[in-house]
Symmetry: C2
Subunit: 410 residues, 2 copies
Amino acid sequence: MVQSMNCEIINVGTELLTGAILNTNSQFLSSELSNIGINVHNISVVGDNPKRLQLVLENALNNNDIIILTGGLGPTGDDLTKEVVSKVFGKKLVLDNTEKEHLQNWFNKRNIPFTKNNLKQAYLPEDSIKIENPNGTAPGVYLHEDGKYIFLLPGPPGELKELYFNFVQPTLKSFNNQKVESRFYNITGLGESLVEDKLKDLVENQKNPTIATYANLGEILVRLTANGPDAEKLLDEKEKIIKERLGKYIFSYSNNSLVNTIGNCLIERNLTLSSAESCTGGMIGEQLTAIPGISQAYLLGLITYSNEAKIKVLNVNKKTLEKYGAVSEETCWEMCTNVRKILGTDFGIATTGIAGPDGGTPEKPVGLVYTGLATKDTVKIKRNLFYGNRDTVRKRTCNVIFQMLREELF
Amino acid sequence: MVQSMNCEIINVGTELLTGAILNTNSQFLSSELSNIGINVHNISVVGDNPKRLQLVLENALNNNDIIILTGGLGPTGDDLTKEVVSKVFGKKLVLDNTEKEHLQNWFNKRNIPFTKNNLKQAYLPEDSIKIENPNGTAPGVYLHEDGKYIFLLPGPPGELKELYFNFVQPTLKSFNNQKVESRFYNITGLGESLVEDKLKDLVENQKNPTIATYANLGEILVRLTANGPDAEKLLDEKEKIIKERLGKYIFSYSNNSLVNTIGNCLIERNLTLSSAESCTGGMIGEQLTAIPGISQAYLLGLITYSNEAKIKVLNVNKKTLEKYGAVSEETCWEMCTNVRKILGTDFGIATTGIAGPDGGTPEKPVGLVYTGLATKDTVKIKRNLFYGNRDTVRKRTCNVIFQMLREELF
């Protein structure tokens, strides 16, 4: 693959121009393409309008080698991506009989009448390759014409992702006459600007490997991507520097989230956890229970949003609440200690704070959150002051709780 | 405003082309612009590359009357949006002394040294209007040149939204010599395709008002937008039809989410709620506690993910679990009844199900979820079978629980 191969993503669909749908396909594709060393130079969103789509496509072909189009492959009259691509390349649309059969089976199996408009999905541009779509009715299309590589993918994210990994990624990799490899370093516990500072020289002088940082509410992903026969060696060199500077903040080398890392570690080590959430109100539980199989480790969560619940269900001392308030080191201490004891889990965690927008005072401002972690023998309480809105304060709190668990586990 | 006024959104930032950031600004802007009757014809994403940005901007100016650029207004050398816009319109960048002072105060207040590169943010194109940014250091810019309306907005979503509502929306509305008005109908309890079926003729024959539907995991928003002196009357006519066909499924006329509608209704009516979550694992609590002021209504949540917790904390009968299993009508019944009793709240809700990907059997497949609602006098249990992945099953469960509460409340 020529180093300077450019890519444009074209998302087709009026629903993207009215704000009806959040465009997650572009983020998925551009992130995955970066991982295999392909630079996305432009993303264009265009409605279900054949004239405008043709303009955007022709313009993209002038400046790029790879074009990935998403959406507009369905059965309705609005779905015109194949039609426009065929027109631009002077191709006819031809019925694919295997696909026709596959479609009819798909409908029969689900007991849905096969209406004529659905047949549209079995037509493919001449000389193109069909990309089978196991999860839907519209197959993808691959066309290699005039030195350009054109991929047409269905719009639903689940279908698009599968076709990308099954076909697009291996095809793009096969063009490549040199190895491209990425490595990931997931970091937490260090401010985003500090991570950037520590890697500033690497970022400014990057060539091969390239280096990129992605920050998201307390978690930072650093990605190294190298190409060429020496890719491994080049990555090893830079990895050594990254480890030296950030080693103790790296919690995963496989692009895993902090909560997944913690949850799977609990499962693997047969450790158990209970939580008592006030300001996060269930967010910690929700994140943990998104992990399949967590039920063996995460035994109990209490959302004790009211003082009544703290007293009655969590056995927090009424005097503690009266003397120090619900948002205090003392209350947090009792919360994590007591929730752990209910089922005798290995860990008990607790959050109590003022997420805002109201409820702050000069002594206890919005953003003040206490986070606690109790084991059989120890209790750790952290006082945090977060900036940002209610949602940000709550998410940052989750991040700190998982950091505290990480310190305990690693 | 001329009916056919076209708009293009240009998002500037390499971080959008590497997948580092999800482009939520485009969805926000295109949705808001639709609400005031402006059609977005294209969205373009371009990196921090002045040549490519110039190309995209010139192309956009050929086809559109309104251009909204986001990002690239910050202090770094990569931030080049103002520079490119000035170049295209033949303008100089001029130091705005008021902005300079504002910037210096901003840094002083936060005890951060004011470095020279920050001054870049106080330079504005000649003949432009500054859009003040109370939440950040980079102001927005408005330029009216050659019959084109150009808005430059900062990239951080919180800042962008405020500048949009403070300046962009009223400015665009002021162009308008005819009224544009939108109305919203939030619907739940009816499948997405059924809602579309019921409105099919309105959608197919739409002119003025236009009609659009937006579906999201059990909640469907229908938006009517009309313009002209008769806008109100035209809306009234269509609203009558919508109410006739969908009336009992409409839970809000102010584009409010179901959980917000329920939560605020509980607060207003001084009603109280407790929850016992198994498969949703805290998701219900997390959604409720995102509502400011909910603490007076949502008193207690239990995340009883393990049988042990169901027995010990929620007092579910061990025999019920043994005989019927954790995912059963009987267990759900005890969960919602018992959780309500702990603090004697008006309502008790419960979820128990198999979210997948594992744990399904022929009798109890993945996606089977029982949802329960108990009051002092009644208990309602619903058996649901959801399709989709773990996340979808959990989110659909929350939707059904809030629907059950709605039926009880309205």
